[in-house]
Amino acid sequence: MILAYALLAGFVFGIGLLVSGLADPAKVLAFLDLAGNWDPSLLFVMGGALLVAAPAFAYIARRGRTLDGAPLHLPARGRIDRRLVLGSLVFGAGWGLAGYCPGPAVVSLAWGGLKPLLFVAAMVAGMALFALLEKRS
């Protein structure tokens, strides 16, 4: 059943990315360009998403199970550490460099041509590098 749930959730998420305008890196860069001709649209994407997602998380947290009664797999609440902050700072630099974060990059693989493919290949290589370094330490 989880396969069907994941497929459905990914599909709805993907349609949302297309409707929101986030699949276009130029639109994302226009949001990140505070000092230029600023396009605040991304704030509305974020706000809309939080409006729906927050009550859902609050509900399952109270319930302690999924709607089916299966156990939850939510990340534990940990400390704010160096890895979290440094990793996120590095991610933001990459995000600002091309205007792509992982979701929009994966969705635009379907029709965006060679450039999204290059970005995703480099992203997966970066993730593989991380996995390799983690294994070693």
Binding site: G10, P25, V45, L74, R77, K115, G126, F130
Partner: protein, 145 residues
């Protein structure tokens, strides 16, 4: 600060955001999991039993969305200003950074903020900050937009 009203799309962006939130909410309610794209992709690189199929299904849904969308509406344009070297560098930074930071715009920015996770609030502040600074440096300091 000057707002680009010509390209500002509050309503479609809000609608898209509601849908993204709906995808995340469905996954939380039905699967009890965080729909964080970097975690879903990154987890495939260290496969463990029962943790691979749903990741592939989620990504198939994500990539399938534009194929279904195109049946009814024209797909949005994908305008990538970055050249090939910058695009590869950006991909590497996003890949390494999201894994060290345990999440991206979806996992921290939407799921984590929804749960009021202090870690995700810190992560979101961090990646937004370097996102703004990077674009400012590229466009207004180095002038290499």
């Amino acid at each position: 600060m000057q707002i680009d009203f010509a390209h500002f799309t509050p309503w479609t962006s809000l609608a898209g955001g509601l849908l993204i939130g709906a995808g995340i909410a469905l996954f939380a309610l039905l699967a009890g999991r965080i729909a964080g794209i970097s975690g879903i992709v990154g987890g495939l690189l260290r496969p463990s039993r029962g943790e691979t199929g749903w990741r592939i299904a989620f990504l198939a849904g994500l990539v399938g969305a534009p194929l279904a969308y195109a049946l009814f509406l024209p797909l949005p344009s994908v305008r990538i200003e970055a050249g090939v070297p910058a695009l590869i560098a950006a991909g590497l930074l996003v890949g390494v950074g999201t894994r060290y930071g345990s999440g991206c715009t979806s996992g921290h920015g939407i799921c984590g903020l929804s749960r009021r996770s202090p870690r995700s609030i810190a992560a979101t502040a961090a990646f937004m900050a370097t996102g703004f600074v990077t674009v400012w440096l590229l466009r207004h300091v180095l002038g290499a937009a």
